[in-house]
């Protein structure tokens, strides 16, 4: 039995890494990957809690999250590809037509 503190700490760290990734990277794809890290951190938390509370709900939730993630990936990658097609870059700091 893994102490909840450990897993929570782990998920927190993972989540933070994801956030930081979003903040520091300029490549839309990598940013997106970081977001995936955040989702997974949440999943970890769910699973951890579920295990502690002997309930399946957490795991179910994780299952749904994975589906959502898959869907998001599909749409997101499509959008990124489209952007790349139009302006040959996916660096978010080169994409600021709209501002002010």
């Amino acid at each position: 039995m893994i102490p909840l503190t450990w897993s929570l700490a782990l998920s927190a760290v993972l989540f933070t890494i994801g956030v930081v990734g979003v903040l520091v990277r300029r490549n839309a794809l990598v940013i997106f990957m970081s977001i995936e890290l955040m989702l997974n951190a949440a999943n970890l938390a769910f699973v951890a809690f579920a295990q502690q509370m002997n309930s399946l709900d957490g795991q179910i939730f994780v299952f749904f999250v994975m589906t959502v993630a898959a869907a998001e990936v599909a749409v997101g990658l499509a959008i990124i590809v489209n952007v790349f097609r139009l302006r040959e870059t996916i660096f978010v700091d080169e994409i600021n037509l709209l501002k002010g």
Binding site: V19, V22, L23, R26, A28, I31, V92, D93, I95, N96, L97, L98, K99, G100
Partner: protein, 653 residues
Amino acid sequence: MLWIIPALPLAAVLLNLLFGDRLGKRGTSVLACGAVILAFMAALRAVLQLAGIPEEDRRIVETLYTWMRVGDFSANVSFLLDPLSAIMVLVVTGVGSLIHVYSTAYMAEDPSFRRFFMYLNLFMFAMLTLVLADNYLLMFVGWEGVGLCSYLLIGFWYEKHSATEAGKKAFIVNRIGDFGFILGLFFLINWTGSVDYERVFAAAPHLFPIGGIAITAATLLLFLGATGKSAQLPLFVWLPDAMEGPTPVSALIHAATMVTAGVYMVVRSHVLFQMAPFTLEVIAIVGAATALMAATIGLAQNDIKRVLAYSTVSQLGYMFFACGVGAFGAGIFHVMTHAFFKALLFLGAGSVIHGMHHEQDMRRMGGLAGKMPVTHMTMLIATIAIAGIPPFAGFFSKDEILAAAFSSGHFPIWIAGLIGAVMTAFYMFRLYILTFRGEPRFIEHAGHDAQGHGAHTDEPHGQGHPVHESPAAMTIPLVILAVLSIIGGFVGMPFQEGGHLLERWLRPVLESAGGLPHSVGHQLSHATEWALIGLSVAIAGFGIFMAFRVYLQRPSLATSLRERFAGLHNALIHKYWVDEFYDAIAVKPIYRLSQWLWRFFDEKIVDGIVNGVGYTLEGGSAILRLFQTGYVGTYALFITLGVLALFLHILRS
């Protein structure tokens, strides 16, 4: 039927306004003069009716309707005829009708003939309202009404800048006086709760301690109004300028009637004034000072009308110090006589100007005696009258005033009066001599002069007519007035038991004030009285003699005197620089202040703040837009910051 008296001129105004253009000049003049003459008839009838009433209740009150009633305050439109207003009404309508007749000829060729008579009639209406009103508020209506008419008539030749300026000046200076009047009125209303003479006078003695603050303030304020209307210090400055108006106007408004309104008001409220000795002192001093100062200025003026104007101011001064020393009756007496001879003088001057094709500068006159005999004779009579030579009208009234001053122990005032008398005699005869005697100093066919007084083209006469006597329509009124100036004084013949005629006539009014001491002329022994008479006659004689000596026999003397006292003379020419003084201390600073308020306070401060808010917000907007960089990174950063902020908040709590 009192209301008919003011109503007639008003009706004439309306008729002229609506149908005047169809009536033509003749119709207009008939309408205008007719209305005033009828008013005079009506007044006469009313006065006779009044005389019929036994003395103790000799007053006719006629209430038309309630003007305004608000809370505990109410004022009626109602007229009062009592001995006092009777005199005024007769003088106003009488002299008024004469001047109307005179004007028909004087203004004959003026393109805005109709407008002139409408104004004139309107003035009659206002003036009659003033004197017939039986409460202060209605009096105030007339009071401002005459001010308005004088504004319009002074500025009658509106294309002449100086004329409109003078008109405006007259109105505004009068407004300053009215400011005092209305405030004084508030005192009366707030204490006595009414504006009716009867109620106010009845209530006053019980409400005010003699010489109390309230009554003193009230009366002083009222007197401020009087100084405005009657051109006393410090508000006399408008009257000389008012000579810009047509001469008949000067005669009617600025000599005979309107300017005496102040005196009338003071006499009317003598009950109040007698309760404020301090005010009376002030009045006496102001009156005397004005009389002296105006007389001195009069010595040095060369414009015939201005000389008369200053003499008017000076004479008004006499009337006021008469009131000041408590001789209200004498004041009114002088108002009456002064109306006769001063109107006559002005009309005569008008006739001269008329004959001289609008020459007003006496230095270009002289020797007119032969050319316009009627004018000459009448003018001479008037001059003697004002100089105070018995048995002419001026003598009696002025003598009574001086006597009153003497007997009431105001010796400085009395002395001033005497000096004033000398100077009056002197400058009046100076005027007479410069105009009618000596060598003609003008070129026949003289056109317009340099001073610009005649510069307006509205008046008749092209150039080149010889100097001539004026038409009958002008001379007849002169004659009538001359007669009045001779006999007008007899109503005030001294040495009669129980006071003279006028005094007895006025008694119901002047004694209504619960036995307060008033006209004091009769505590004097006959001997003293004779002495005073002799003195004043001698004084007048001296003045006249000097005038003849200086201006007729040795004209060089005049110039040498002028050189001797150059500084003084200069001061007199410039009327002691009073106008300049007012301009410097009041007009200019106010103007500058206003400019500052507008340009700086209004536009910079207030609007600056208002618009400043706008600019600040737009600046904020610009700044906030900088955060909207368009970079996903920035946006994510702010989201994270937000979350962090939330965390920190709960960390604190």
